[in-house]
Amino acid sequence: MTDSPLLGHAPKRGIAALPGLVSDTTALTKRNLLMFRRVPQLLVFATIQPIIFVLMFRFVFGGAINVPNGSYVDFLMPGVFVQTVVFGAVGTAIGLAADLKTGFIERFKALPMAHSSVLIARILSDLTRNIFVVTLMTSVGFAVGFRVHTNPAQFLLAVLLLLAFGAALSFIFATVGIMVREPETAQAAAFPVMAPLVFASSAFVPVESMPGWLQPFAANQPVSAVITAVRSLVLGGPAVSDVLIATAWCVGIVAVAAPSAIWMYRKAV
């Protein structure tokens, strides 16, 4: 009876819906990842930019920046890693906005598919891209003199934290992408939100070097929290409380942004 025409396809519910969710998510994730091959500019932009930052800060500005202890490149790389996943998260907004613009999502809405797979697949494909970019940036870091001062396990934990932060941000930018519906606008709308978070952070310079009024923000905002945790994990020192704070930020962001992204997706046509 599988091939009889005009049968209709009854959707499954509960546990029985799980295989559907998995296969829909797989199909969409594959398709999202294929985009990086079809539109290589996406990936080139996402990688060239942080590489330029590394080179610029390592060799141009680095000499003028004093860091508390250790070498500047060891201070810099955790900041660059976090910057990479923050800027990368804009890709989530751009991807969803593009799918809304082409009407692809309207088509999805009338299909007997697992609708949560659209968001899940987007987050997963952006996670995959982050794994690639973080790996690449690690190699770039090693090439310009960056060293892990702790152990591989802590470094791995740092990478997991980075990826978790990237995924959490993806939910925020999913909301933005659905809201603006226009890939170019998504890019433009994301920048003013991200720039202060990335630049008024401890990514490139120590917070203590900033004006007094800026310090409380710069020291406690989420991007700095994650950078601090990654630094502790990679450069040594007591890391537990830093990691807990950073994890709390990730959880908190997901708790707020995931429902809002889901709500926006439901409403969007």
Partner: protein
């Protein structure tokens, strides 16, 4: 399986507002299984909104609607298993090939990869896209996208198919081809609801029509019934000079129930009997020794429909035939 419902689509008092704009103002529709139902209306009438409500894409503010007996609001997932939608604007991934687009939609409708692949090939063939199947959709022409979009609505062989202006932007050949596909689908037992701005298309395809304006159904019936009500074609004859025209009008008085109307060198006569009257008119003129220089037949257009239904022209009346490129996603 429950017994087949008689009505494939039923809508009662569907209302939908967008802010202050009343898009649907209490629409009722009934479409029996196996019918082609045409929704006819000008820009902004509410056609797309109605289709979005019936395909579970949009929630109505009030009213009830069912597809194959299942509620679009309470049983949306099972409705989605029964419908295919080709929206007004082609909804495709420009960075996938035509074949990949179809297979992706197939895999999202729970059919096996093998079946999806096979049906994708069949559909590409059916819509004359086999040669372009492995090209990225961003390289497709507007008409090719349109056809691929329709193919994508059919991958899972849905019994109820919604087509929003399926032939807008197609060349005449593709249009005729598509009409044939639609007839085939119905011959296989499908039910189709389509919207159109073309009277001719509605006439050719639809078993039943509803004319919608400002979110309300203002007339319903078979195309023949509607056209009878909507008025008539107008035959216009042009003559060498005013005097000949006047003479011709005198000669022709009484050939039709409607009196001829002289405008300068032209004579207009309304016709409810199509070409039959034309033959009679020409024969009468011939016998009277008058030869017309020009002959035009104006078929009733969508604007005439509205004129006769509402007594006023449509607010932003678009040219009814092959209107300029209104493709592309409009601003929202």
């Amino acid at each position: 399986m429950t017994s087949m419902p008689e009505l494939a689509i039923q809508a009662q008092q569907i209302r939908k507002n967008f802010g202050k704009v009343v898009a649907l103002d209490g629409v009722n529709l009934s479409v029996p299984v196996g019918q082609i139902f045409g929704l006819l209306g000008p820009n902004g009438a509410g056609k797309t909104t109605m289709i979005r409500v019936l395909t579970t894409v949009l929630r109505a503010d009030s009213g009830t609607a069912t597809v194959m007996g299942r509620s679009v609001s309470h049983e949306a997932p099972s409705v989605r298993g029964l419908i295919g939608l080709a929206g007004q604007y082609a909804a495709l991934d420009p960075n996938l090939t035509g074949r990949e687009n179809l297979r992706l939609v197939g895999s999202l409708t729970q059919i096996s990869g093998r079946v999806a692949a096979q049906r994708s090939d069949e559909l590409l063939e059916r819509f004359s896209l086999s040669d372009a199947g492995n090209r990225l959709v961003r390289t497709y022409s507007g008409g090719m996208r349109r056809r691929l979009d329709l193919a994508a609505a059919l991958v899972h062989r849905p019994p109820v198919i919604f087509l929003d202006e399926p032939t807008t932007g197609l060349d005449p050949e593709s249009r005729v081809e598509l009409w044939a596909v639609i007839k085939e689908l119905v011959a296989d037992g499908a039910t189709i609801l389509l919207t159109t701005q073309y009277m001719e298309e509605a006439d050719r395809l639809a078993d039943q029509l509803a004319v919608i304006d400002h979110g309300a159904v203002i007339a319903e019936g078979t195309p023949t019934e509607l056209k009878r009500r909507l008025g008539s074609s107008v035959i216009e004859l042009g003559f060498a000079d005013d005097a000949t025209a006047t003479r011709a009008a005198e000669l022709l008085a009484g050939t039709s129930t409607e009196e001829p109307h002289v405008t300068g060198r032209g004579v207009q006569i309304k016709s409810n009997e199509g070409t039959k009257l034309l033959t009679r008119l020409l024969r009468t003129l011939d016998q009277g020794g008058i030869e017309p220089e020009t002959l035009t037949v104006h078929e009733p257009s969508l604007d005439d429909v509205f004129l006769s239904l509402t007594g006023k022209p449509t607010e932003d009346s678009a040219p009814p035939v092959e209107a300029a490129g209104k493709r592309g996603r409009g601003a929202r």
